[in-house]
């Protein structure tokens, strides 16, 4: 593995891993590189990919770990890039970013989505998929558009909701004082975990997939308003019916071993 970010490199060195660092992308030419993995907030990609393209080198494959895919594909086509690029998105991790928050088993049994481009060769798709599987991940191939559609529901909407709930709480905080923190174990604390994700990374995701996210947010607001209306009419039967419906999906997530585990106490 070779890295170009010096700050990260120092962390890696501390961790005693076998890595080396380069100061400029041009130095790549001197090395024998198989795979470049872009790991930055998604709105920084264009600059980085431009530099990679300038290398004019077909000897390596480029992939990434970003949470949006359509905007990255668009950058590639718009700039008429030529390097071998297989975007991907390993869906693994916690709310904390950075090398020091990695842990054994981070990728185990999680899915990595691979989103080939029009000109991607079968061999390259297979190589990148194999790479993720070598980290004990499962892989699934889909288009960038489909990726962004699915992830807007399974990840981006939950994040915009969590951030908005915490922002609502901040407005109420003065009148509640320390009570917000003390009594957070009734549900609120789970949202603060998701809303504790890296701000820069998530700003970029929100902006890059804003259309899908806005559409879903409206749909969600509609659902919430209907719920509130049922409260208003004290519609007990309808309410119970709603709440019973949601259990099934949880059970399926647990069965698919994608649920994780929550330990209520510290």
């Amino acid at each position: 593995m070779r890295l170009i970010n010096l700050k990260i490199f120092q962390k890696v060195k501390k961790a005693n891993l076998n890595v080396s660092s380069i100061k400029s992308l041009d130095d790549i030419k001197k090395l024998s590189i198989d795979l470049i993995i872009v790991c930055t907030p998604v709105l920084q990609y264009e600059n980085i990919l431009k530099k990679i393209n300038k290398l004019n080198d077909q000897s390596f494959i480029v992939t990434d770990v970003g949470s949006t895919k359509k905007n990255i594909e668009d950058i590639y086509y718009k700039n008429n890039f030529k390097f071998r690029f297989i975007p991907s998105h390993p869906i693994a991790g916690i709310e904390k970013s950075g090398l020091e928050n990695g842990f054994l088993g981070l990728f185990e049994n999680r899915y990595s989505i691979v989103c080939p481009l029009k000109n991607s060769s079968k061999k390259d798709i297979s190589l990148v998929s194999k790479f993720w599987r070598s980290l004990s991940m499962k892989t699934e191939v889909m288009t960038a558009k489909e990726h962004d559609h699915v992830l807007s529901l399974t990840s981006h909407l939950p994040h915009i909701i969590s951030y908005s709930l915490v922002l609502t709480a901040i407005k109420k905080e003065k009148s509640l004082n320390s009570k917000l923190v003390k009594f957070s174990a009734g549900g609120f604390r789970d949202f603060t975990r998701v809303a504790g994700s890296d701000p820069e990374m998530w700003r970029d995701i929100f902006l890059a997939n804003s259309k899908e996210i806005k559409k879903l947010t409206n749909m969600f607001i509609g659902e919430l308003k209907k719920f509130s209306k049922d409260l208003n009419s004290q519609n007990s039967k309808k309410l119970l019916n709603k709440l019973q419906k949601t259990k099934n999906i949880r059970n399926r997530i647990v069965k698919a071993k994608q649920a994780g585990k929550f330990i209520p106490n510290d």
Copy 2:
């Protein structure tokens, strides 16, 4: 401990605990009881409390574990009950209900809120508080009104949001197929956990505290719409500022040891 629900009693017997069961509340008279803890969905209280009041007995204190308090206080006053009642709410537990989901340390370091009535004696308040503290909980005394105000934000709103998100996802599910479950690790799965809570218990909470919940839901929808507007105008700076604001609360919850621990893998 003595229980009157036969189904629960059978479970307790299986667990080899030292308990006995009674078939009717009238049998309480034959026993020497110090404390009755009502543990049912909150809309079932009125019937139960009526039966307790009929015993016309001042030798025991009654408390409970319900997530709403104002409606319970109202029931007591409206019916002109006379028994010694100190409502309380131990904020502990997971999304799974029932005796079989208890675990060692369930109450440790969590808060129990005690909501005395107008006629509560200092001695009774202190006895019930002491009971919760004997289970390693911390206690805090507040009015029923204040309890419902705080809990609507720290628990009831997060639950109505979680249920509504899962209901939104159910509507999109046909087009997504198994992808909703496979790629749920990006945030969605955390909401399904909260939305996996007991339907009957939560229907009652929503109905009993509907005014506070509706008010907060509207405030939250306003916050979400503002967020969506910032996406629309691609207001990068404002967005980053929003996302940075929310980290502070998470840090305080972690510091107060109320965060729990999430293990991403099964």
